[in-house]
């Protein structure tokens, strides 16, 4: 039954992908990309990867759509007429597709118990997580503790991406210097979205915090929570105008958050060294090694969440400031 659902979703995904390539209206393409993300998220969920599905739905279908739309506001809606060599591009695409299809022949069958992913370190993680860290969600244990280095790298990737976008777009003209009529008022004159938005935003923020701090027990964690909290504040900015969103969290504060996350993560790692362990070894953070691990994961997840929120909101404001 699940296989049927999976094949159905993947077929829809292929149709969506073809539609994205075929359309020359960029607005339509952005909406289709959002649908594609949602379909992939559904597929991840079918494969029991709830954490990844949550991230894909929040970032892929939610925030990147908003970012694409704000980028579209700066350019035109139509794709520029193509004048490239069609035969050349077809050959390149066909060759790449053939290589990918050839590579899949070496992949183990779906769910094969002999596959490297089932026999390498995964059994050890599953077996040792209750003993070393004692949290139910093994994904968080792997991400936060066993593979803490990788996650540190990811946080720095997010941070670097944020810095890169801000370098390209500039962090925006200070809003105070703009004439009143140029300031984007959002949907302030539209009563219904505003009222409903006001009701929903606190709950979205609450859900974000739940996802942040419940990551040890269920699907969730810093990446997802950061995206959800950023989405709540972007919704606020869309409804009430960026001016008011920036007076809640100013661009300077957002820059601070962006940098504070990796710093917190790194500081937890260094604290491990200072207290006599290895870098990113949380066992020494508390008198009991299991408690130390849990504390370390809580802190680094907070760092991840803070970075993701800061970066996403900074990028959003950078795009929005360019629009004026």
């Amino acid at each position: 039954m699940i296989a049927i659902f999976g094949i159905f979703l993947l077929t829809l995904l292929v149709i969506t992908a073809i539609a994205i390539v075929r359309t020359d209206n960029l607005f339509v393409a952005v909406m289709l990309m959002s649908i594609a993300s949602l379909l992939i998220a559904g597929n991840f969920f079918l494969l029991d990867a709830a954490d990844v599905a949550l991230t894909e739905a929040a970032v892929g279908a939610g925030i990147s759509t908003v970012l694409f739309l704000s980028a579209l506001a700066l350019t035109s809606e139509r794709e520029r007429a193509k004048s490239s060599n069609k035969i050349l591009s077809f050959t390149v695409v066909a060759a790449a597709a053939l290589i990918v299809i050839y590579a899949t022949f070496d992949k183990p069958r779906f769910g094969d118990p002999e596959a490297p992913v089932q026999t390498h370190v995964a059994p050890w993680y599953l077996e040792k997580t209750p003993e070393y860290i004692d949290i139910p969600n093994v994904v968080t244990a792997v991400l936060g503790s066993f593979r803490g280095y990788d996650t540190l790298g990811e946080v720095f990737v997010v941070f670097t991406a944020g810095i890169g976008v801000l370098f390209l777009l500039g962090s925006g003209v200070p809003l105070g210097s703009l004439p009143r009529e140029k300031i984007n008022e959002g949907l302030r004159h539209h009563l219904i979205p505003r009222v409903v938005g006001r009701v929903l935003i606190p709950f979205i923020l609450l859900f974000g915090l739940y996802v942040q701090f419940h990551g040890e027990y269920g699907p969730g964690g810093g990446f997802q929570a950061g995206a959800i909290i950023a989405a709540a504040i972007i919704l606020f900015a869309l409804l009430e105008g960026e001016q008011r969103a920036l007076s809640v969290l100013s661009a300077r504060v957002l820059l601070g958050l962006m940098a504070f996350g990796p710093l917190l993560y790194g500081a937890v790692g260094v604290a491990g060294i200072v207290l006599g362990g290895n870098f990113l070894d949380y066992s020494v953070l508390a008198s009991d090694s299991v408690k130390g691990q849990q504390l370390g994961i809580l802190l680094i997840e907070a760092g991840v969440g803070i970075t993701v929120t800061g970066v996403l909101l900074s990028i959003f404001h950078a795009f929005a400031a360019r629009g004026r």
């Binding site: 949907l187 539209h190 219904i192 979205p193 409903v196 938005g197 009701v199 929903l200």
Partner: protein, 109 residues
């Protein structure tokens, strides 16, 4: 009792699926944006309520039901709002409603 609940839940699920299907057909067949939104709203309202209540009957009194109620509330709040925002955005952008015997029957989409 369980059989009764099962039957009821399947009836609700089937009706929900039917309303989603009707909404989809309407969204394809209707002449302009506003009537299409009107058709698609069947998916949002009837489809969501029927399918979610059907699943709730399957879940029984458990945490899952509470979560489904929360999802239902969220959807009942957000989908009319987004329809309203979409319609007013279309009106602001100058999309005229479809009129019988008008020369421009696809509107300005």
């Amino acid at each position: 009792m369980t059989t009764l609940l099962d039957i009821l839940s399947w009836v609700l699920l089937a009706l929900g699926g039917l309303s989603v299907l009707i909404g989809g057909i309407g969204a394809l067949r209707m002449p302009d944006l506003y009537t299409r939104m009107h058709a698609a709203s069947v998916t949002d309202s009837m489809g969501t309520i029927l399918v979610l209540v059907g699943i709730m009957l399957q879940a029984g009194w458990s945490l899952a039901t509470i979560k489904l109620i929360a999802i239902l509330l969220f959807l009942l709040l957000t989908s009319p709002t987004s329809s309203n925002a979409l319609a007013s955005a279309a009106l602001l952008a100058g999309t005229r409603p479809f009129e019988e015997a008008g020369q421009d029957d696809e509107g300005q989409e």
